[in-house]
Each structure stands twice: as structure tokens, then as C-alpha cells.
Symmetry: C2
Subunit: 102 residues, 2 copies
């Protein structure tokens, strides 16, 4: 069963700096992660419920299954990405593991 | 540009009731929405950051573009789905519009 990591980035203090770091440093690290099948990302355009714009960007990383995800984040590349996440993610950002239903 | 609606359902008071409503009533309504390309959903399995299990389920609805999404939610089927969302979504649940980057 496909498993994804859903990353919810809260609003950065400096959007331009965040975006430069994201595109220039973070995603290149993500793309090195072994076993990563694909990524999907986008800026949050609107809060469809009329509530707060809590999140700035939502990114998903897809893996073949739970084992592949665990191996990925145990790898050097996965750990480098996790270390960079600590630098880029604004306070309150969240990461959830979601097995995708067929 | 593909646009998706990302729905973050918080923890329901009664998980079984939520899941029955979701599978038996809500998703059948979603599937009637004109212009809907596909859905992706899954139960949150873990908080990868070690934080709170804020969300129970994450669902995404995909549309061809912003116009298609707007038409969809202006349709009778879209409004029926929105009305049912008000019934099923636990307090604090959120919905965000995210244009997907290529």
C-alpha cells in the first residue's frame, strides 16, 4: 500500500527566503531520498472554509510502502533532508504519515 | 494547472460513526461532484514529527483547474457535499485549496 508523508508548512516569517530555501536546497535534498516515488507540492491558495491561512505550502512524498518509507528516512539522504527540515520548517509545521487507500 | 482541495479532518468523538458516515454517505456524495478528476484519502497513521495526532483523516479532491473546482462547488452535487461536510467534519477540521505545481 502506497504511503505518503504529508508536510504542512505554516506561514514563514520571510516568504521569499523560505521559497528560495525550499526550491534551492530542500527539494534537491528530497529528490535524493532513496525509494522516493514522487513528490507533490503547492502553495496554499485559499482557506476553502473561510478560516485562517494556517499553512503556506503543503508537500507530499510518496513511497511504495511503509518499509520503503522507513528505509528512506533511515538513509543518509533521508537524514540530511530531516536535518534541513528542521532549518526550513516554520514553527508549528507538521508531518503526518498517511497510508493511501485504494 | 491541477487544483486540489485538501481536507484535514480532526479526531472525531466517535471514530466508528465518523468512518461509517464517511464511507457510506460522504464519499458517495463526493463522487457525484461534476468535474472531479480523482480523490485520494487515508487515515493518518502517525505524526512523523512526534507531535499530536491532530488529524484523523486527510482527503484530497482533484480538479483540472481553478474554474473546474469553482463550477464543481457551485453545482447541486457540490453544495450537497458541502452541506454534508458540515455534518461530518469534527470541530477544527480544515479545507485548503492548493494548486499543484508541475
Amino acid at each position: 500500500m502506497t504511503v505518503k508523508l504529508v508536510v504542512l508548512y505554516t506561514q514563514p516569517e520571510d516568504t521569499d527566503s523560505f521559497e528560495q530555501h525550499y526550491a534551492g536546497t530542500h527539494m534537491p535534498l528530497v529528490e535524493q531520498i532513496p525509494g522516493l516515488q514522487r513528490t507533490e507540492t503547492g502553495l496554499v491558495g485559499a482557506a476553502a472554509d473561510g478560516g485562517e491561512m494556517t499553512f503556506h505550502r503543503i508537500t507530499e512524498l510518496y513511497f511504495a510502502d511503509q518499509d520503503a518509507m522507513q528505509s528512506a528516512f533511515g538513509s543518509d539522504e533521508g537524514m540530511a533532508t530531516a536535518a534541513d527540515y528542521q532549518k526550513i520548517a516554520p514553527a508549528g509545521s507538521r508531518m503526518f504519515v498517511v497510508p493511501v487507500e485504494d
